[in-house]
Symmetry: C2
């Protein structure tokens, strides 16, 4: 854009500052999904996200099936972040002339696999020519439902709440690093593990539904990690009007990610704190419920959940605490899809 | 695409032939909207459509506001075609780097105007960089509702039903013709009138809701004219397993469109029968209800409705009848957004 300072978040804020609305919009732009009340026992959840060739994916580093799976997975993750059940997807494709039909079939095969895995129906399709452009665009709107009043948003965290994360953040960023630096040498198994996490992230749908199904007031806020842990924790703090403290010693770093980081002399905390596209869930829960939260998700899904910090008053900002007691500010180095290479 | 014979409709059929579905999908891919049952008294309607710079619009021939209005209008028209009430829009933008922010503000101003006019809330926003591409893409998903069991689809026409159209088909195509042939001279007022119909079509939302609100069994099938009257009548005939006969003498051709056609020696029937992007409603109703249908829409909206033909058995195909009694086959010369220039 001609205004070089305008990133994704500033632009959305600028464009959506004064939108038309309706009384039955329970939550509009600004969270992982909109929450819509069309009557009945369920609220409707709606989200959209696009993947642009050369910006979000390339056919050189991912197969067509992987691209299709991920395009749906990132939307499934937004439904997961509200504690919802995904239901219906609408897929809009912008197709360059040179695209082989076999690539398109592969992308659709990936979409189908992911849709079936998460019991989601593909109910809408639109294709348009890309004109002179050579770039494929996959734009998906995903609709889901959540029991009326039970959606988890970014705005419910309270001072003293515990901060949790599912799985092992940073794997996807390490995988992307190996793809962007193919000249370096990495431990083979570790490389394959983190690349798989980058190419085909697993949206935490059942994990999110399990958390939303706990007694009201236990889980207080939730978001999925698409922009990086620091950036997405920042979204929770901003929306909840709080600060937060993360204990680096408690971050659940995977052995594969550590091995990749070590092989190139990078700090694994950088991947874990600032790497985008993990699609893990980052959430807060009232103190005293740590064991209940961790065991509920473990029992329902087998996915590990780790307590990594605490919600602070807004004035404290976002802090990092190292195992030796040293503290510093946690900078937000968010993954911005407009500014990233 | 590398397979030059694959147009929009063939491609959608190929890609959606074996889709994941769910029991609560009342109607999937293949009509103007999907119909989804999430419980409660209303069915949910969902549709998506995209506009690509250089394919569907150019900033040389439309203002940013007009582009924004039309991008929403074409989706509103799909909700109208089911007899639904539009409610929520999600807007996904793919932005080239060179795009001035003022253009973007203009597009959003147009989206807002159109949303307010039709009481639609903008509940989702996503922006992505276009990478190397210089083309702006506006992709919109629109959600609406219709009372359970009251949606009008393409598949309900019966032999003997009367075929109706709202407004005056062909105006938009005549407007596009004047834009694509700026070297020709046209009557000034007529030129402005048909260009306005091309740039800012009025989706027939209240007209569609009025028709869906008549006693069950009166209106039997409905579609909006986006591909051209012949192509969209073909969609009704295919889905309803019927043929149809259109009487050319009854087609409601506007004076402005006739004047533009006459000034360049074109047959106005070509614009009316095969021109795309009218966004009028084409529908069928049981015989004996002509006056009721026409008067109901006129009273609620002021929009003229005209009976233009009859549904025939499938074996008869689609026919044209001229005022002198001469008959011929009505060819489908559908507006295909992938094959059009």
């Amino acid at each position: 854009m001609n205004n070089p300072g305008l990133g994704e978040f500033e632009l959305i804020a600028r464009l959506t500052g004064n939108l038309a609305t309706r009384g039955d919009v329970a939550l509009g732009v600004g969270d992982d999904c909109a929450i819509l009340d069309i009557g009945g026992d369920n609220w409707l959840l709606a989200t959209c996200d696009s993947q642009v060739e050369g910006v979000h994916f390339t056919l050189q580093t991912s197969s067509p099936e992987e691209i299709g799976r991920k395009a749906l997975a990132i939307n499934l993750s937004d439904i997961a972040a509200m504690g919802g059940e995904p239901r219906y997807a609408l897929v809009s494709l912008i197709l360059p002339k040179r695209l082989p039909v076999a690539v398109l079939d592969g992308i659709y095969a990936g979409l189908r696999q992911e849709a079936e895995r998460y019991a989601t129906a593909l109910v809408g399709g639109n294709v348009a020519g890309a004109g002179r452009s050579e770039q494929l665009v996959i734009d998906i709107t995903l609709l889901g439902t959540v029991a009326r009043g039970h959606a988890l948003t970014r705005s419910g965290a309270h001072v003293g709440d515990i901060v949790f994360v599912t799985g092992s953040p940073g794997d996807s960023a390490a995988g992307l690093f190996t793809l962007l630096h193919p000249d370096q040498r990495y431990p083979r198994d570790a490389q394959e593990a983190v690349r798989a996490r980058h190419r085909t992230p697993r949206p935490r749908v059942l994990e999110g539904r399990t958390l939303a199904g706990l007694a009201p007031g236990i889980v207080t806020a939730m978001i999925d990690i698409s922009d990086g842990l620091s950036g997405d924790l920042g979204h929770i703090c901003e929306r909840s009007n709080t600060g937060a403290r993360i204990e680096t010693g408690r971050l659940p770093l995977s052995p594969a990610m550590r091995a990749v980081a070590a092989s190139v002399g990078r700090d694994p905390l950088d991947f874990a704190l600032h790497g985008g596209e993990d699609y893990e869930l980052l959430f807060t829960a009232a103190p005293g419920h740590e064991r209940e939260v961790i065991e509920a998700v473990q029992a329902a899904t087998g996915t590990p959940v780790t307590a990594i910090g605490t919600i602070l008053p807004a004035g404290a900002g976002m802090r990092l605490v190292y195992p030796d007691g040293r503290e510093e500010a946690l900078p937000v180095r968010s993954w911005d899809h407009l500014k990233s290479p």
